[in-house]
């Protein structure tokens, strides 16, 4: 069972995530979109969207630090357990609350504003549900595990993080997860489910965030390609001349 939960299922999700994106890009390039509803409503959106997105940036950053950076590295630069813990809990709570409040506003808006609700797909609803579950479980782990000390002491940096790195290195050690508290287990499983859903939802926009605009001049000139224009081959007698 643990082999399935902590080895097979995660790799399946990872495979769906990778192949799914390739498939989506290949067959639905024009559907690769945030499905923005800003045209229909922007008052609530202006509040909820930045809250959620900047909160999520913090959450992602926290996960990078917590999951990918081994304890030995932070120890080496002199961050002791207490300071790390303090930073993780305070930062995690702020980011988590931002994301959760932002999400609540966005979901409220989506349900109550008619045109926005009309533009909501079934896949959106599934995605919102899973996303909410993942974030809520993550918050619960932060609060329950680290602050309230419910369910005993657990240092995820010794368990979940190590398992995650072994998973990324394709040498998965399922036993590390079997010892983790149920909250962490559920969070991880829900997160993988979200990754599996990812390519089929609006979340694909993460990979097309327009960060290039930050440094882009107003006008972009692209010189003519040598390759033929359009997808059909030039007909005889109609070949292009010059360059």
């Amino acid at each position: 069972m643990s082999l399935f939960l902590w080895v097979i299922f995660p790799y399946l999700c990872l495979a769906v995530f990778v192949v799914g994106h390739a498939w989506r890009y290949r067959y639905d390039a024009f559907g690769w979109t945030t499905r923005s509803s800003q045209l229909y409503e922007d008052r609530l959106l202006r509040l909820g969207s930045p809250l959620f997105h900047f909160g999520m940036l913090g959450v992602v950053g926290g996960h990078v630090i917590g999951l990918l950076i081994p304890r030995s590295w932070t120890d080496a630069v002199g961050i002791d357990e207490h300071r790390y813990h303090l930073g993780a809990v305070i930062g995690g709570l702020i980011a988590g609350v931002m994301a959760l409040v932002g999400l609540a506003i966005l979901v409220y808006r989506r349900r109550t504003v008619g045109p926005v609700f009309s533009a909501t797909t079934a896949m959106d609803k599934v995605m919102y549900l899973v996303l909410t579950v993942v974030i809520t479980l993550g918050m619960w782990n932060t609060i329950a595990g680290s602050t309230l000390n419910l369910g005993g002491e657990y240092d995820y940096r010794e368990g979940v993080s190590v398992w995650y790195r072994s998973f990324l290195a394709f040498q998965p050690d399922a036993s590390l997860m079997t010892q983790a508290p149920i909250g962490f287990k559920l969070h991880a499983l829900a997160a993988f489910a979200l990754f599996a859903l990812w390519p089929f939802t609006r979340l694909v926009h993460v990979f097309s965030a327009p960060v290039g605009y930050l440094t882009r001049p107003y006008i972009v000139y692209r010189s003519r390609d040598v390759r033929p224009l359009g997808t059909s081959a030039a007909r005889r007698g109609w070949e292009r001349v010059g360059s």
């Binding site: 024009f30 930050l214 440094t215 882009r216 001049p217 107003y218 006008i219 972009v220 000139y221 692209r222 010189s223 003519r224 390609d225 040598v226 390759r227 224009l229 359009g230 997808t231 059909s232």
Partner: protein
Amino acid sequence: MTQDVPVDSSLEGALSTALIAGRRFFTRATVSDDQRALFKQGGRSGDAFYRDRWSHDKVVRSTHGVNCTGSCSWKVYVKDGIITWEAQQTDYPSAGADRPDYEPRGCPRGAAFSWYTYSPTRIRYPYVRGVLLEMYREAKSRLGDPVLAWADIVEDPERAARYKKARGKGGLVRASWAEAAEIYAAATCHTIKRWGPDRIAGFSPIPAMSMVSHASGARWTSLLGGAMLSFYDWYADLPVASPQIFGDQTDVPESGDWWDAGYLIMWGSNIPVTRTPDAHWMTEARYRGQKVIVVAPDYADNVKFADEWLPAAPGTDAALAMAMGHVVLREFFVDDRVDYFTEYVKKYTDLPYLITLDEIAGESGTVYRPGKFLTAAELAGDSGTVEENAAFRPVLLDARTAEPFVPNGSLGHRFGETGAGRWNLDLGDVDPALTLYGAPTPDRAETSAVEVELPRFDVRGPDALLRRGVPVRRVAGRLVTTVLDLMLAQYGVGRPGLPGTFAAGYEDASAPYTPAWQESITGVPAGAVARIAREFAQNAADTRGRSMIIVGAGTNHWFHSDTIYRAMLMLTTITGCQGVNGGGWAHYVGQEKARPITGWAQLAFGLDWSRPPRQMIQTAYWYLHTDQFRYDNYDVEHLAAPNATGRFRGMGTADALALSARLGWMPSYPTFDRNPLDLADDAAASGLEPAEYVVRSLQDGSLRFACEDPDAPENFPRMLTMWRANLFGSSGKGNEYFLKHLLGTDSSVQARETPPDQRPTSLVWRDEAPEGKLDLLCTLDFRMTSSTILSDIVLPAATWYEKHDISTTDMHPFIHSFNPAINPPWQTKTDWDIFHTLAQTFAPLGAKHLGVRRDLVAAPLLHDSPEAMATPHGVVRDWRAGECDPVPGKTMPKLIVVERDYGAIADKMAALGPLMEKLGATTKAITYDVTREVEYLRGKIGVVRAPGSVTDGRPSLVKDIAAAETIMALSGTTNGHLATQGFETLEKRTGTQLADLAREHEGKRITFADTQAAPVPVITSPEWSGSETGGRRYSPFTINTERLKPWHTLTGRQHFYLDHDWIQELGEVLPVFKPPLDMTEIFGEPEIGSVGELGVTVRYLTPHNKWSIHSEYQDNLFMLSLSRGGQAIWMSDVDAAKVGIADNDWIEAVNRNGVVAARAIVSHRMPEGVVYMHHAQDRLIDVPRTETTGKRGGIHNSLTRIMLKPSHIIGGYAQLAFAFNYLGPTGNQRDEVTVIRKRTQPVRY
């Protein structure tokens, strides 16, 4: 020299500057020094999608076909054999160096048309009503012959009723072309044999915008002997005032001439919405200093272009115009004079002509009533030397000698030997006396003044007669005055010393027709009216006639639109604007202008094989045949003037129609209660001349006019074929009556039949009203419409992007083509091919069952012919009442026998017949010798090789391009040789120089290939009244004013005065205000504005739709998306509040004629008391069942009914004589009211 471009840091800020500057470290692309631009090498693969999206294989020129006045030329794009989209053509001829171009032309509706090619409602295959098809297959297998099979079904009342009741209830099934054509041919054959060819009708409107397609079925119908139904009058688009004033169907300036106007009034015409591609001229002319006025009851789209808006209440436009006329007469003809106006009206109008005054002994002393034109016949008196056509040569007074004078150019000069060379407007040295006021008299004694009695219609009762004085003289023993003197009296413009009551001033609200008087009727401030009238006339005086009024459906679709238009046209005529570039009336309602009209007429009516064709006034046709006459309960007397003679007392509208038919004024088909083929045989058997036989039979009562017993089975219309038309979704006024009586299916008629004491007296009244008169309804279309779903046979037609054809309109002076972007897809065919297919299927049946027959055709007295002189002085004499003898062609219809070889119909359709060389081609009394043209066509389109047949060696019309070439070769506008020849013919009559107008193009011939290359300007031709010579913009009547060619009227001048008996009886001898019909009084509808438990009563108007008109229809997905979608009724917020209706609520509109279910659009744009239901929304999109009847809901015409005005059916008298679409009763629909309420039940479909 190079300069550093400083970076404006205020624009970007330090942060963005730093960010962009940092980019250069991460890219090989170059960032420009000013940081505005990035230069990349390649990376264009993303373009491929767009390149593919807009790539195409070919571009084909076409346009939009039935009735789009824009008639813009379009580029139709085709990719992989699929029509993908269309875009505007840009290669129009130039309008001149100093003015804007025609281009840009196009509108969103036209750009949406290509949707139809592959739309879900496209008709792809022939369909036949399932129950009928089963019966037919059964009968044919039993009887073995198609004609016998059809007869077996329709002669069996039970089976006939069964398939007729199924109409409109689904159940159309696919049939093969062969089978569908066979049923149609069998029905045609049986109908001709059993009932007669005049029981067959064809309906296709507006030939100008696809002449070949129109001609296809018209040629078929005409060769059979069937009746082609008129459309211009039926659509109420014909402004009857035009024949009345100008003796011309309608002739108007092209839109490019709006640019020439200095003062422009848009009056009931919403240019940006209904004439979108031409609206740019109006907006551009404003930059030239043109002042723009809008008269519209609602805040219409064109109001925002206007300098001033006069929101006149609906239907009161004549009151406004009369008040403006009052101001113009007062300030420019009495208090002051403008030489330009005076000279113009003397020369080009009937204002100086003498009118006799009839003496009436009244209780309060002797009064007079305006009578007839004084003519040369009266001048001759007892002297005995009566000149030719004397009764048609009216008289004026020479101001120099004070002697009566008979000017040239009258109708009496147009025909007959003595008129040759004298039919012109040249007055020589004569100075016509416009008024007798203070005019010198030969003996300086006889001038005096008398009171005339003038009816008014804004009030009832004893005050409805005005008594106003006119100066008079006695000429040839008769008391006379001039038309101008009568006009001044009519308008209430007094002069010192004249008796009677005149207006005290503009502020006199009690006296018609002052500005203050109109304010209480129209709601427009008196001051604004006076000022705008003054400006309009002053502009005309300053610019010599460059003041223009664009008039439209808003003012033209009323019952009394002829009086409305006469009041408005008085303004443009009296100020010398008619016949001047940039001036005059501009009426764009319905499209009459097939510029190559001569060629089209020959082809469409089969004039190359047999004459005359049967042409019917459609309003009268349906008034009788849909039994709407059975619900009319008012006397024509109701419309008469308060001082009428009682001529109309006891006369119903149907009685008036019967009289009109009997006297040969208007056509009437079916004509007699006997098959005209049998009638010809009976005549032959009797040994009498056919005409004599008919006259005798009519007199002894053995033969009757069919219109006197329309409900007798032998008088039913039996077959109707429609193409390019949607009678049951668009033009069928009284839709529910059509459904009930003509088609015999479910209807929502709410009205009761007329009680016995109010029924027409000269008609047979059958107690049982027939239902399902029509045996076969066949419709050709490319989309499912209200008409196709009611049809028995539906044939799949090609769209406008799938055939060859030609198009012209009155809005622009060029001709251009339709071309197939793709071949007709699925089993569709072009109209031309369809009718040839039907003819070929019919031919063997015709040969077997009919053979060669003689057909007795009754034809009315025609305009532009000597027959228009049948009624001297417009005095009505009825042969049936013994007032005169029945003389065919004089006091009754012409009776002509035509031979029909029914086995050869298909061959004749496909060949140009020999009458072309033998009789020539006649348009407006000018006959063209086309021998040379036929020879040219032989070479151009090939000849028929059929030894032994009548068609052997004739030019071949098998292909649609050949038809187009024939139309153009046989018309002056497209063939310079014919134009010049026509003018030379005309010169012999006028004695003035004309042929130079066309001589610059004498060798020019427009071919179909020319029209494919680009729109081609047409040639000035006597077929029309304006000149394009030298590349000038087309304006009507410029040939009349500049070359002294008379108008086609009694005097040869523009008529303010009409003296026909019936016009006198209606009180319409001069322009007058008649309010909209009072539906409360006539039909007992609730009063407008009243709120009852059934809802609020409002005036119900059906104007044109912004989202579907002319170039596409209401079902187009794009336009449905842009608009509200589905049937909707616009109403004001005030009316909506009265009955608790909110925007988008489902509502129901109910009146005696029917029921409509629709959504409400509540808008403060609408005035209180008025609703708009846009025209032709059809019954196919979002039409639920109604609450009132539970039947599926109604269309805009479910609430209307045919209201027929008797003055429109006058004939046989000068300009008041019939010609197809020239004169006829209008199918008006604006005077209607309805009750509107909110729907309470949930909507069910």
